[in-house]
Amino acid sequence: MSTLHTVNKSPFSHSTLASCLSICQPGDALLLIEDGVYGALASSPQAEQLRAVHAKGVRVYALEPDIEARGLVGRRLDEVELSDYAGFVRLSSELRCVQSWY
């Protein structure tokens, strides 16, 4: 029983991603969407924390259309995989519950 977490706020201006990362557990997945995709940058204030949860078994994704929109292609952390909307659907069906952090 694991949870999909979505985060849609920039970690440079909101503490949303930090809150989410403090709750994520191994087996959970995190999907960065909308302004949340700025959390995929190496310069993100939560980059270290994101790497740490990834290392302990949280899969981390960013929504590709949002990455493209914001000019972040080629700028993301290695730990962050891209997902399209179908991937978002797949994640939300694989995992039991979805917590939206906004």
Binding site: N8, I33, E34, D35, L63, P65, D84, Y85, A86, F88, V89, R90, S92, S93, V98, S100, Y102
Partner: protein, 135 residues
């Protein structure tokens, strides 16, 4: 197509244009139907209710989200439910409510229905997945 189709409902809390949430919700809705899941209900609450305003005139080169939801609902038998309490406060009325409150017009778009907050809970209970799109 997915091997095990699920029933989804969505909760949409952001207004078109002001928040990307409503756009993301719509893209998600299309994607889940495309891969073979079923979309039971979209519940519009908080500022999400503005998606059901028939009077919106989006810029010409942009999608009309209100009409897009309506088409999706018609083609795939999706319930588009607007929370009545959230709608009244924000000035979104069907004909009946307009009459009840002595208002000069109504502005609920075709394809959407106004109902109580219980419909959100019911969606949570009867669907396999409830996904929130917050603003």
């Amino acid at each position: 197509m997915v091997s095990r189709p699920l029933v989804f409902s969505l909760a949409v809390y952001g207004a078109p244009f002001s928040a990307q949430a409503s756009q993301t919700a719509y893209a998600f809705a299309k994607a889940l139907i495309d891969v073979g899941h079923r979309l039971e209900r979209v519940f519009f609450y908080q500022d999400g209710i503005h998606a059901a305003n028939v009077l919106a005139v989006p810029p010409q080169d942009e999608e009309n989200l209100t009409e897009a939801w309506h088409s999706l609902a018609r083609e795939h038998q999706v319930e588009l439910v607007v929370c009545i309490a959230a709608a009244l406060r924000r000035g979104l009325l069907n004909g009946e409510e307009a009459q009840r409150y002595g208002k000069p017009a109504s502005n609920l778009a075709p394809g959407f229905e106004i109902a109580g907050l219980g419909q959100l809970l019911e969606a949570a209970v009867t669907s396999d997945r409830l996904i929130t799109f917050g603003a």
